[in-house]
Symmetry: C2
Subunit: 411 residues, 2 copies
Amino acid sequence: MREAERGAGAAGMRRHNLALVLRLITESGPVSRVELAGRTGLTKATVSSLVSELLEAMLVHDIGPAGGTTAGGRPATLLEPAPLGPLAVGLQFDLDHVAGCLVDLGGRVRARELRRVHAAGLGPRELVGALRPLLGRLLTAAVDAGRLVAGVGVAAPAVMAATEDADDPLLAWAPQFGWRDADLHAALSGALTALGAPGMAVRIGNDAACAARAEFRAGHPDAGLALYLGGESEIGACVVADGVPRPGVRLGGSAFGHVPLRPRGARCPCGARGCLDSYAGRAALLTAAGRPDQGLTRMTGGARLSTALTSTEAGQRAVAAAADALGEALGPLLAVLDPDLVVLGGRLGGLGDAVLEPLRRRLSGFVPGLAEPIPLRAATLGPDAAMRGAALAIVGQIVAEPLAWITEMFG
Amino acid sequence: MREAERGAGAAGMRRHNLALVLRLITESGPVSRVELAGRTGLTKATVSSLVSELLEAMLVHDIGPAGGTTAGGRPATLLEPAPLGPLAVGLQFDLDHVAGCLVDLGGRVRARELRRVHAAGLGPRELVGALRPLLGRLLTAAVDAGRLVAGVGVAAPAVMAATEDADDPLLAWAPQFGWRDADLHAALSGALTALGAPGMAVRIGNDAACAARAEFRAGHPDAGLALYLGGESEIGACVVADGVPRPGVRLGGSAFGHVPLRPRGARCPCGARGCLDSYAGRAALLTAAGRPDQGLTRMTGGARLSTALTSTEAGQRAVAAAADALGEALGPLLAVLDPDLVVLGGRLGGLGDAVLEPLRRRLSGFVPGLAEPIPLRAATLGPDAAMRGAALAIVGQIVAEPLAWITEMFG
DNA sequence: TTAGTTAGTTCATTGACCTGACGAAGTGGA
DNA sequence: TCCACTTCGTCAGGTCAATGAACTAACTAA
């Protein structure tokens, strides 16, 4: 049997409509009650009632009459996510940096911090040590602004394995760090206790899955079945169904970068041979293009590398080889998944058309039966996508269940 | 914006609960009102009211008091799908046969027909001609039983492309038949008119997607993200999310069998080189095992072929090669999709452990980061899965929206 | 025969949304 | 300035469906 699907009563109806209205307000910026009524199919009266409940709960703010954009008639009073509503912390880390941000109910970034560190070789506790000052400053910033922090989301470049509690997966394998079954959760909870926030909710997810959440919420909220390719140093991937990342139970966001392509290929740091990462990963591109990854900052590296890859002959060869390897791995995946859309993000996506164009050309040859190519787009959020998505997972819970949040806060 | 998500009102509540109760009755065979109340969380009174509405609509039947299985107390009156409720016709065809069945609301097969034909080279209209007598007998059988036919579902071994109406896709490519953009829908509608059933609903789907629907409904209703591998002569595949097949927009159930594995491989009937089908398809296995596909009936072929493949050395080599090819194609797919479960159906699945075991052994090597293997199971429904699933798509609409059906029937 | 147990129904109650009418707050023309 | 006209939001009464408690029905066991 399906998981005990519940019947709907009056209470469930209200809960659903409350969540629906809050979601529309957070996603569509300032909206009037009438517009909400039109979109939801509810009446103006009902929307008013729902909105006033959200206003009382301090989740929504009434801006007041809008400046005459309406043509004749009483101007609408616009609603927006509360400026003093709850926030979430989003964290991410990789071989070369740790970063964090504060995100509000509307998904907007209210604060942002990045620190370059050489993280290779660090253990989970040491890594949390590197994250801690940054985390402390973000928490302080929230308190100073008079806002509550609902929880901390972490985007990890790792294979996550689901535990009994599906919402609290375990970090099973981080190839670049050499971690196996690392208890990042406990280490972070310890740091939070030390920072004066004991018991704060922590949720760890795969970085590609996190980035996919942020990317699709911002750019493609109405995609049906889609695929996100991303990851920072490593290539990651995640299936997105109806806007929700589906990172699976065992691999929790995939180990796409370590799919074996060439049985006798080069040895990968992960221990295997001929991994996709060895041909299409950033390090592979840089090396093949004669540009080892030094002196390139994380933010400007994309543009500079992209010109290097298109202007030199070695660069073009490297890109062609990467497109081949990616196409080879993507072929069976796309033939079966047949997504509405493929979004290329992370550092790979940051290279833009230098990678997109060759990949587009190669892809059709790897997927049979296509009348028209599968749309392939570059991500739009840049390198912050992963931590933004991690934070969104936290605020998303509030938006999805405002009643639960309200009763938790106000009894 | 998402597709104008509607708010819930009293009417929607009733609609939802009505569908929920009907679904539980159809899926869980005879059930009492009390058990329904327990499962749905609704009260006995509400369930009674919902059930009586379904009884009036002739969708559900009250069997009467059950034979004393209860320990003390009044025996429950059990409910089942109405024995005179609506039926659906499911059709399927492939190179060597056409077949059809009648399926009731509960998914049970009430009638079944199969005819061996040599269909290679037939055009869409000729194929419908081969289906027509069979279809006529099924319709007559339904009328004789005093039951309504709600529609006809067809499982086609073809790539389906979605049109504006997502529920009515077009047959875009049938490699084995050499069809491109064939209007099977029009041909079938014509046949139905000639058979005295003008305007009857027709829905065509990819055979693997159809089989997946039947297979997961019967065997794995609570799987989250899963993968179905099937197809009759060709290998097909379909992603299943929360029990619902997701055959995509462009390929509509995949062209998995024609994924290019070896750029310089053998030429495939589809025109390309080195297709997966050429290594892991049924024809490939038969040929490699020295047993061309003659004299094997569709029903007994599985068992006899399976012993041939395990007992002879040539057979074992063929199976190993097929497992290699399948594993190679499945690796990237499983690494990203990371399904809870993989079900192997169609003719490939009919070979049972002869294929499953080698595939299990090879698969782990193609998916990195796995602590435990992805469960791989053989399908249970046998060669009728596709047409059963096609019919289920029709009855599924009634079960999902009983109110729409009721108003359509009774005004 | 009687107590105990479980199934299903009846009916008043409650909660949430709907309908229709109204006041509020603007615009634009006479 | 005044008055139609339009749109926004609220209020009061009405409707619909689920709820909860009491009640009848049916059967078991002592």
